[in-house]
């Protein structure tokens, strides 16, 4: 498998292996404490190995890592966000996956689901930053508005920007969780009045893994952390900083409706015959051909369905600027530079039409003037100077 060999070749960063510096119980120990038997644990390990795109021979390595290495502490921060990432994260319908995610991450601080509140909660953050510098992973949901000194997002009396920079300065690496954190999402859509900025553009001294999607698929978080536990290095990232093992392929290339695309059979309007037959949603504005995500492989809610499976086109929620690429039910984007609601085709037809009309008008006037014959000669100045074969 190409993805496997590529992951193995991924370079090791300075300061790694990080698992050497960790302490505390291993993932396996935590799971056993929660009453998970070994058989279920092995099933989980096998599943997560397949999810990462690794072949079955890697299962013992993954099992060994989960058994022997301490869990990675995760500090979860929320900036400008709608909490849909957390909702996705805690609602894995498969109980084991949910359990594993919540337990293996060692979520020391999570604004939405933590028990502690107020000063007690803030104390956890300070303690983590000061006691475990360079050990914890900073997972950021949402992003920070930078306009007017960052006052559009305040947490615990401080700007989120300030808190984020402090937490990131001591983190081992940063996971930008969701499209908000990795690309800006709706807060950063034009004209972006609060200057909402993706994490990768704020933090430059730490590796940032962009886990895009609105929300992202929960298994990706488990996959990334298991990968790091197992191989002691960051997964290989694509050009937008997204882990290749989940974001390498287009929705389109693994879509179960792809056969209809190649055949040329499309849904022409909602509720038509093609929609009932499950034809391709290309003409209804599906962003699958330009969206890199894991949905068409893993689906949602443990394989129940996913947008295209429900007859709705992909919105491209894992791509930067997808809110500005609307309308969603239109095949091609408006042209932002011209700033009018124009399809490229409309603009093109107008330009080409104007050229045709211009040429036609010229031809008509040329014929009307009876100019289309060689009747005149210009004054002769020199008949020499013709190059070429004379």
């Amino acid at each position: 498998m190409p993805s496997e060999s590529m992951n193995i070749r991924a370079s090791t960063l300075a300061g790694w292996p990080m698992t050497k510096s960790l302490s505390g119980p291993t993932t396996y120990e935590v799971l056993r404490d929660h009453g998970v038997d070994r058989r279920t644990f092995l099933k989980f390990a096998t599943g997560i190995t397949a999810t990462m795109g690794l072949e079955a021979t890697f299962v013992p390595q993954v099992v060994h890592a989960l058994e022997s290495k301490p869990r990675i502490p995760v500090l979860w921060m929320e900036g400008l966000s709608c909490t849909c990432c957390t909702e996705s994260f805690i609602r894995s319908s498969h109980p084991l996956v949910g359990d594993v995610i919540l337990n293996m991450l060692s979520l020391d601080y999570h604004p939405t689901i933590q028990v502690a509140a107020g000063f007690q909660a803030e104390e956890i953050v300070d303690k983590l930053i000061h006691d475990k510098p360079g050990q914890y992973v900073l997972a950021v949901e949402g992003n920070a508005p930078l306009a007017d000194g960052g006052v559009y997002c305040l947490e615990g009396g401080r700007t989120f920007e300030d808190r984020l920079r402090e937490a990131a300065s001591k983190a081992r690496f940063v996971v930008a969780w969701g499209n908000c954190a990795s690309a800006g999402c709706v807060q950063a859509a034009a004209p972006n009045p609060t200057q909402a900025t993706p994490i990768g553009k704020m933090i430059s001294d730490k590796p940032v893994i962009n886990v895009s999607g609105c929300p992202p698929i929960p298994i990706v978080m488990t996959g990334i952390l298991t990968y790091i536990l197992t191989f002691d290095r960051l997964p290989e990232l694509d050009r937008l900083g997204r882990p290749k093992m989940f974001y390498q392929h287009r929705i389109h290339d693994k879509c179960y409706r792809r056969a209809f695309f190649d055949a040329g059979q499309y849904v022409q309007s909602w509720d038509d015959e093609g929609a009932r037959l499950g034809h391709c949603l290309y003409k209804m504005g599906c962003r699958g051909p330009t969206t890199y995500n894991y949905c068409s492989t893993f689906k949602w809610n443990d394989g129940v369905s996913w947008p295209v499976g429900s007859g709705h086109g992909c919105l491209g929620c894992s791509e930067p600027g997808f809110w500005d690429d609307g309308p969603f039910f239109q095949r091609l984007a408006n042209i932002p530079q011209i700033n009018i609601d124009s399809w490229p085709e409309t603009v093109g037809k107008v330009v080409a039409g104007a050229a045709a009309i211009g040429a036609g008008a010229h031809a008509v006037s040329a014929i009307a003037k009876n100019a289309v014959k060689p009747t005149e000669k210009v004054p002769v100045e020199s008949s020499s100077g013709v190059k070429g074969e004379e």
Binding site: R239, G264, T290, A363
Partner: protein, 245 residues
């Protein structure tokens, strides 16, 4: 030499043919070959591209029995590669060919080129015969450079970048994949690619019209010249390629 202003006649021609038409070898073989390869590939690219952008007809029946969009894309990609090779060949011949192979380049640092540009525009608008060129006139060369060379390069680069999405680990992706995030993501690049295709089509409309107009107006063998390589001029024509250097 006397200034000739009256229309020439068949009798004039019979009396002294040398005074009227003489041939100059202008377009060398690579120029002519790449011209027609480009013309055919652009036609195929534009038609299949329109279908890919907006599939207006759909086959009936089972999906596995049909491959309409698949063939459109295959033809589009093949024609795209042919166009790219043609573009590169022509670009090479810009340096290796005769002086006329360079006549399409906008030589904006030369005052003569600017004079020729305004003069030619004015002649077209006045519907006058005007001075004659053997290579490109400045206006034609400028539109050729913009419509084929610049837009062609843009289409080749964005096209290869979009094409590289099919194989995310392939060499195409390594070479051209960076263009997609650079230009605002694959979705927008698709739109730009289509918009630029319409601009190329606009160039084709203007090109075909002006070639017919020029050919009938000047009787200079402009159309057959792209097949035989020879263009005609009359004795006394001021050959305007002086800015060519």
């Amino acid at each position: 030499m006397a200034i000739e202003t009256r229309p020439f006649t068949t009798e004039d021609f019979a009396r002294n043919p040398d005074d009227y038409y003489r041939a100059g070898y202008v377009w060398q073989v690579p120029v002519r070959v790449t011209h027609w390869v480009t013309a055919l590939s652009i036609t195929a690219l534009f038609l299949t591209g329109l279908y890919i952008a907006n599939p207006v007809f759909s086959p009936e029946g089972e999906a596995w029995k049909n491959f309409t969009m698949g063939w459109m894309r295959k033809i589009h990609f093949a024609a795209g590669f042919i166009f790219a090779v043609s573009w590169l060949t022509r670009a090479y011949w810009f340096f290796a060919g005769n002086n006329y192979a360079r006549s399409g380049f906008p030589m904006f640092w030369r005052a003569g080129w600017w004079r020729d540009l305004w003069h030619q525009l004015w002649e077209y608008l006045k519907l006058k015969r005007g001075p004659i060129h053997l290579g490109h006139n400045a206006l034609g060369g400028l539109s050729y450079t913009l419509g084929v060379v610049v837009l062609g390069a843009f289409q080749i680069l964005t096209g290869l970048a979009l094409f590289s999405q099919d194989a995310p680990t392939g060499p195409m992706n390594r070479l051209f994949g960076w263009l997609l995030p650079f230009l605002g993501g694959p979705f927008r690049v698709t739109s730009y690619h289509l918009l630029a295709a319409w601009f190329v089509f606009t160039f084709v409309i203007l090109h075909v019209y002006i070639v017919i107009y020029d050919s009938t107006q000047y009787r200079n063998g402009l159309i057959s010249g792209m097949i035989t390589g020879r263009k005609f001029y009359q004795r006394g024509d001021k050959v305007q390629d002086t800015w060519l250097g």
